[in-house]
């Protein structure tokens, strides 16, 4: 998976991966930002494809509810919880 790879947070074991090549952009879509109950995402800068993918800015606040992953119509988000 290409795209933003967040560093492992200190006290949580949640990682969020965004596939920029599958994402269709938070301007036309933006469902991930919209459904997230913890305001984890911001809009990233525009990529070469002309879209602004989500940027998981506040992963520390993420509770791994998986809503963003479930509502992404393009399978561009993977939320992982590691032991």
């Amino acid at each position: 998976m290409e795209g933003a790879d967040t560093p492992l947070p200190k006290n949580r074991h949640i990682r969020i991966f965004v596939d920029d090549s599958l994402c269709k952009g938070t301007d036309g879509c933006g469902l991930c930002i919209h459904v997230c109950p913890r305001n984890v995402y911001d809009k990233a800068d525009m990529t070469d494809r002309g879209i602004r993918p989500p940027k998981p800015e506040r992963v520390d606040d993420c509770t791994a509810c998986y809503l963003c992953m479930m509502y992404c119509p393009d399978f561009a988000l993977v939320v992982e919880e590691n032991e």
Partner: protein, 279 residues
């Protein structure tokens, strides 16, 4: 190491960038269906996916890495009937849109329900003909201005799940894409159910419906779906006036009746075991 999406293993590598518009509800539904197959531990090689013409029909074709039959407009259920009866060990799933299954395909839909043939039909209801640019559909809300109802739709719309029930479907459920977990549960139930299983999924179309009719963006339409969804239990205590403009979601039918392919097998045993008689 970066992970792949857990459901990518069910998809054709060349097709994972779908043709869906940004924010299309069909993408949410696609995930819900594949999650159901994944959670049930089923093998894609046991399936035949059949779809008609329209955006919804592109959910399995070419995306799903499985035997897929992309048919003519309105007829996937008829093709699926041939597949199922000729090879009953296949899990047959039809995924197609409201215009496809209910307008041009309405006749095949009611007869397959009547026959209680063992298949799962997911009807993706976006209330419009999306792929062709936003024309009015039998499910378009009354009053809506579309490309072919420029003065506002003056026709009544179908209660698709009601129609399925009346025609004889033995599992009927309706959800919107906001209830994605419930869709997965219903698809799992439908896969386990022997008989004609019908799931209507109201899915939002942000471009041909949302943008063209002024209903809003994908996120706005998703909020709208959440707002107008009413569970069947709650709806039973509401008046028709209160239900105006609402979508009643839930499981409506879950019964067992003789299944066509099973009856066919019994009929064959009788015909073959009967008296050898005349030519």
């Amino acid at each position: 190491m970066k992970p792949t999406h857990p459901l990518h293993k069910y998809m054709r590598p060349s097709a994972i960038r779908t043709a869906n518009c940004p924010g299309c509800g069909n993408g949410i539904l696609t995930q819900a269906i594949l999650r159901a197959i994944d959670e049930e531990g089923l093998d894609m090689d046991d399936f035949v996916f059949v779809s008609g013409i329209g955006c919804a029909a592109w959910i399995p074709s070419p995306l799903f890495l499985a035997d897929t039959l992309h048919t003519t407009h309105g007829r996937p259920i008829a093709f699926a009937t041939g597949v199922k009866l000729a090879k009953p060990d296949r899990r047959v799933m039809v995924i197609s849109g409201d215009g496809d299954l209910l307008a041009i395909g309405g006749n095949h839909f009611i007869h397959a329900a009547r026959r209680n043939i063992d298949m799962t039909v997911v009807c993706v209801n976006n209330g419009i003909y999306g792929m062709t640019g936003g024309q009015v559909a039998p499910t378009t809300p009354i009053g809506l201005r579309t490309m072919t109802s420029p003065y506002g739709n003056i026709e009544n719309d179908f209660d698709i799940s009601g129609l399925a029930t009346a025609a004889g479907a033995t599992y009927v459920a309706r959800w919107t894409v906001i209830q994605t977990r419930q869709i997965t549960k219903s698809v799992r139930k439908a896969l386990e159910h022997r008989g004609f299983s019908f799931i209507e999924v109201v899915s939002h179309c942000p471009v041909q419906f949302g943008r063209k009719t002024g209903m809003g963006s994908s996120t706005q339409m998703l909020d709208w779906l959440k707002e107008i969804s009413v569970t069947a239990t709650k709806a039973s205590g509401m008046t028709p006036a209160e239900l105006e403009g609402k979508i009643v979601v839930g499981e409506f039918v879950d019964i067992d009746k003789p299944v066509l392919d099973v009856e066919l097998e019994r009929m064959r045993r009788d015909a073959q075991g009967g008296d050898d008689a005349e030519n």
